[in-house]
């Protein structure tokens, strides 16, 4: 079927200089202007290989051409205080944050949305593989993963297909890599039906000295491709180029999906760790989107150098691949290293030990040009920065969506509120068993949370906590959050709310929030209303970071998440990294001791718009999302930290979706221990009714349990720091119920069954 590529039908730079021809730039996703720009840069038409490179590197996915002008805010709206711990900021493969003791942490979240809809298992699996390689390429040992999932309506017939495939894929890949999964999110909403979101986060730890950058700086150094062989994965798009060069056989039908091999990646991780330990490499880059095109041009561009590559040296899985296809292949589990000649022996020894295949592709050039040859023929000769850095930047048109006024006007105020105790009790259970608030262990029990032996907290606690120094106990916490409904109501506020929730989740574990990553999932940037949402959300996140005084260190943008004209809810996933001196001081999210006082911290307002209560009980979305006040979030976080240092906090759980009621349910079920709750004082103090007391989603709130002996001190501390505190109950291990006085006496076994049963009933 395939004709072997002969020298005569390779499109060379010489051909390109001498003969013009029609090129399929539009099919490759370039605009007329972009194609014209390439011709100006080169002073001739591009060769088909060059066209392949530019088209993929200038795609939205690789170039951030629509988002760049907004992402800049994250680097600009910063203070010295925010940058204090930042070792590598925006722009590298992943940000790097100093955590003390000579150690640093790198972390990033990335999307694999579209592939996960087409082939959920492989899409999600390779999403995990890709983000882990990003972390690996910073010189870090990956230590944990998380996953942020958004699926269609739980009862929709296609949802189970996606859920099963995605969860299986994450489980299969992450577990096989030996990385504990320490948390994530699972949301169901019809808005994601044809466009599920699969975001994956990885965290790595490195010594300060081991930091690696994706740079080729030293002319003469070798460029080595290692890991899996290059095959025809994920190059469906370049078929148009292939068809040009195949005779009359028609276009080759290359697969658009990629298949992952977690085993190959695990071996790659171990091999890289040895490369780092023995200081063998001078630069490294993972191969993800755009494959060799991306790795060569970025390494060269970042080092202000060039590169000379013999493409024939690429080890192939399939000999029929054309040069264009090789340049664009997205085969997984590959890395590119820059190695000084004197280190080649050591490099080879490590590859041989781990049975990793490698091939030397070429060397670093002093001049800023990227030259790629196919045998003797020169098929690429371009300035690397024009491919990797100076891609077009667009200021897309932005338009205020007028529908939002109507949405905001339709507040939850008019929704009927129950006063009958038994009805309210039923609502608590109905919310606790709704797909979004239900227990997620049907998913999380498919993930290994134990491997590596350093997991101090994981699901269902508020954040995932990992020990990074076994001697000192130094550790980190990660939490990620996003609320698409809040963002639909107000993307500026919604992005801040996502940050606030992740920040609070980290703080509740006893850690101090230190840095932020994000994955911005939106509809089409060519839709001005989507672009408005994007602008608002990025501005909100950047402003929120200044207010909370923690920097964004990196992230990822995923556009075009829509089915037909209907975009997903704007979904900026925000991840916060926290640091804790000693993980022995971690705080669980439920009570384990009897007779402890339960306190509600913060102020409860009547904020039910966009809430779980409005959705589950009334199928309503409208109004304005809750207010955010980072000053209050920081006071709450400081308080928990201060009190925890003194050993006063037995448990802490943040209040978010589902309100106080949901937090009480989760804290009771965490260890299956009962409690007696009263709400009168709270309702009176904050001037709210029962529905608001139980279901409002006001921010900067948490419930904590505190031992009797620490009571006076704890209350004193809150008062001294001005954190509103009200006692709302006591823990009672004798009782097997969550008793809310005068309202409900909910048997814990029944509650648990309702909370746990939902997902298995939907998907088992």
């Amino acid at each position: 079927m395939f004709k072997k590529k002969t020298e005569s039908n390779v499109d060379t730079t010489k051909d390109a200089s001498s003969e013009d021809k029609d090129q399929p730039w539009a099919e490759l996703g370039l605009t007329q202007d972009e194609y014209q720009l390439i011709r100006e840069i080169l002073n001739r038409r591009p060769t088909s290989s060059e066209l392949a490179m530019y088209s993929v590197m200038w795609s939205e996915h690789c170039s951030y051409k629509s988002s760049k002008i907004y992402l800049r805010q994250f680097g600009q709206k910063v203070t010295d205080e925010m940058n204090k711990h930042l070792m590598v900021g925006m722009g590298e493969n992943a940000g790097v944050v100093d955590i003390g003791e000579g150690l640093a942490v790198t972390f990033k979240v990335e999307s694999h949305n579209h592939p996960s809809y087409i082939e959920p298992f492989q899409g999600a699996a390779t999403g995990v593989g890709g983000i882990v390689r990003d972390i690996l390429s910073m010189g870090a040992r990956p230590v944990a993963v998380m996953d942020q999932l958004r699926f269609g309506a739980p009862e929709h017939p296609d949802t189970a297909r996606v859920v099963h495939g995605v969860v299986d894929g994450i489980s299969n890949y992450g577990n096989s890599l030996g990385l504990p999964n320490i948390g994530g999110e699972t949301v169901f909403d019809a808005r994601y039906q044809g466009n599920p979101l699969v975001n994956a986060l990885a965290v790595g730890v490195l010594k300060h000295d081991d930091l690696k950058l994706a740079k080729a700086t030293n002319p003469g150094d070798l460029v080595i491709l290692f890991g899996a062989r290059t095959g025809a994965d994920g190059i469906g798009g370049v078929s148009v180029l292939a068809s040009e060069t195949f005779d009359d056989d028609g276009p080759s039908r290359r697969p658009a999906v990629q298949v992952g091999d977690p085993f190959a990646e695990k071996v790659l991780i171990e091999a890289c760790m040895e490369l780092y330990e023995l200081d063998v490499i001078s630069g490294i880059q993972d191969l993800g989107g755009a494959g060799i095109s991306c790795a060569t041009s970025e390494l060269a561009a970042n080092g202000d150098r060039g590169m000379e590559i013999q493409l024939r040296n690429v080890l192939l899985r399939d000999e029929s691949l054309t040069p264009e296809e090789i340049l664009m292949s997205e085969s997984q589990e590959r890395m590119m290293a820059i190695v000084n000649k004197r280190n080649l022996k050591k490099f080879e020894q490590i590859m041989n030990k781990w049975e990793v295949e490698y091939s030397i592709l070429g060397k670093v050039l002093a001049d800023e040009k990227l030259v790629i040859r196919w045998d003797e023929q020169e098929i690429v000769n371009v300035p690397p920065k024009t491919v990797a850095i100076d891609s077009p930047v667009y200021e897309r048109s932005v338009e205020y969506p007028t529908w939002i006024d109507e949405l905001n006007a339709n507040s939850s105020e008019s929704l009927p509120r129950e006063t009958e105790p038994s009805e309210i009790a039923a609502q608590i259970i109905q919310i606790a068993s709704s797909a979004n608030q239900a227990d997620k262990s049907w998913i999380t029990s498919q993930y290994d949370r134990y491997v590596l032996g350093n997991t101090a907290l994981s699901m269902p606690d508020d954040g995932g906590m990992i020990r990074v120094n076994e001697e000192s106990g130094l550790g980190i916490t990660m939490a990620t959050d996003a609320n698409g409904k809040y963002c639909q109501l107000d993307p500026y506020q919604g992005a801040k709310l996502a940050l606030a929730e992740a920040y609070r989740n980290v703080a509740m574990t006893g850690a101090r929030p230190r840095a932020v990553t994000n994955c911005l999932n939106f509809g089409s940037p060519e839709n001005p209303e989507v672009m408005w949402q994007f602008k608002q959300a990025t501005t909100g996140l950047a402003d929120g970071c200044v207010e909370a005084s923690i920097p964004v260190t990196g992230g990822n943008v995923s556009f075009y998440n829509q089915t037909g004209d209907v975009a997903i809810y704007p979904t900026p996933v925000v991840g916060v990294l926290g640091v804790i001196d000693d993980v022995a001081r971690r705080i669980p999210s439920g009570w384990q001791d009897t007779g402890h006082n339960i306190y509600l911290l913060g102020t409860t307002k009547d904020e039910l718009d966009g809430s779980a209560w409005a959705e589950v009980i009334h199928d309503h979305l409208g109004g304005k999302p809750p207010e955010v006040d980072f000053q209050k979030e920081m006071e709450l976080a400081d308080l928990i930290h201060g009190a925890n240092i003194q050993g006063m906090v037995a448990s802490a759980h943040d209040i978010s979706e589902g309100g106080l009621a949901q937090a009480l349910v989760e804290s009771s079920l965490r260890f299956g221990n009962g409690a007696r709750i009263w709400l009168g004082e709270l309702m009176e103090r904050d001037g709210i009714d029962l529905t608001a007391a139980l279901f409002s989603e006001s921010q900067a709130r948490a419930i904590v349990s505190v031992g009797r002996e620490d009571d006076v001190k704890f209350v004193g501390l809150c008062e001294a720091r001005g954190v509103p505190i009200v006692r709302i109950g006591v823990t009672d291990l004798e009782s097997s119920a969550l008793e809310i006085q005068g309202i409900a006496d909910i048997d814990l076994l029944e509650l648990k069954s309702a909370h746990v049963r939902t997902l298995p009933e939907l998907f088992s």
Binding site: D168, F263, A264, V267, Y447, P588, Q592
Partner: protein, 230 residues
């Protein structure tokens, strides 16, 4: 005392096994799959993970490794061998323990804090447990369903070679609730759950007393140390 831990490509819980050995009071010795040098160890652990990606059958490719072949030779001479999860699968593929391990009944990987009954405390790795003691250690596997033909099952039951049985939940559909086995001499023990993940307060399974405070796994390692020394 020196206890070896073999690392195959794709092994994951090797560092954890080494940590457990250290916490139990012995010296962990890392062993490499490609070498038949067992470095004078007194006992060996085949740790958990996905050796060679668990492709073909779990443990099948690792069973062919030079280090495994050496272990097989020493097994007869009484070398204490503990196979954890993937290590158990290697022992089964190497025919050091009977039967087979197949995909979990529910078709999913499962990670949970698992209650077990110690059915045989008369092996090199279970001596510090009392007969019928109930313990909790983490379990995490995708292919942990134990199967064997009737004859083998009868033999295992009659000879008291079932070392551990699942309590409360049979997480993978194992026949006769089998979680782990020993051989007749008692030097070889294989089990699906992971004792090395219940050895350090703060990082084990939850207990009624405190978050992640379960350390029931430590006694596996203490057992072999106690018996060799004593």
């Amino acid at each position: 005392m020196k206890i070896g831990v073999i690392t195959y490509p794709g092994t994951l819980d090797d560092r954890d096994a080494q940590r457990a050995i250290k916490l139990a009071g012995a010296t962990p010795v890392p062993l490499w799959h490609a070498s038949d040098d067992l470095k004078g160890i007194d006992a060996v652990v085949l740790p958990g993970g996905f050796s060679y990606g668990d492709y073909l059958r779990c443990g099948a490719i690792a069973a062919q490794a030079p280090a495994t072949k050496e272990v097989i030779k020493k097994a007869e001479k009484g070398l204490p061998i503990l196979g954890i999860c993937n290590g158990f699968q290697v022992l089964v593929e190497a025919h050091l323990l009977p039967g087979g391990l197949i995909r979990n009944e529910k078709q999913h990987f499962v990670c949970r804090d698992q209650r077990l009954r110690v059915e045989n405390s008369d092996t090199r790795w279970t001596g510090m447990f009392s007969e019928n003691e109930e313990i909790t250690i983490p379990l995490k596997n995708g292919e942990g369903g134990y199967i064997a033909d009737d004859e083998t099952l009868k033999y295992l039951e009659d000879e008291n070679l079932i070392a551990f049985r699942y309590l409360d939940v049979n997480p993978n559909g194992s026949m006769n609730e089998i979680a782990g086995l020993s051989n007749k001499q008692g030097n070889i023990v294989g089990l699906m759950p992971h004792p090395e993940h219940a050895v350090e307060p703060g990082f084990g399974p939850d207990t009624p007393i405190a978050t992640r405070s379960g350390i029931d796994g430590l006694r596996f390692f203490q057992s072999v140390i106690g018996q060799v020394v004593g």
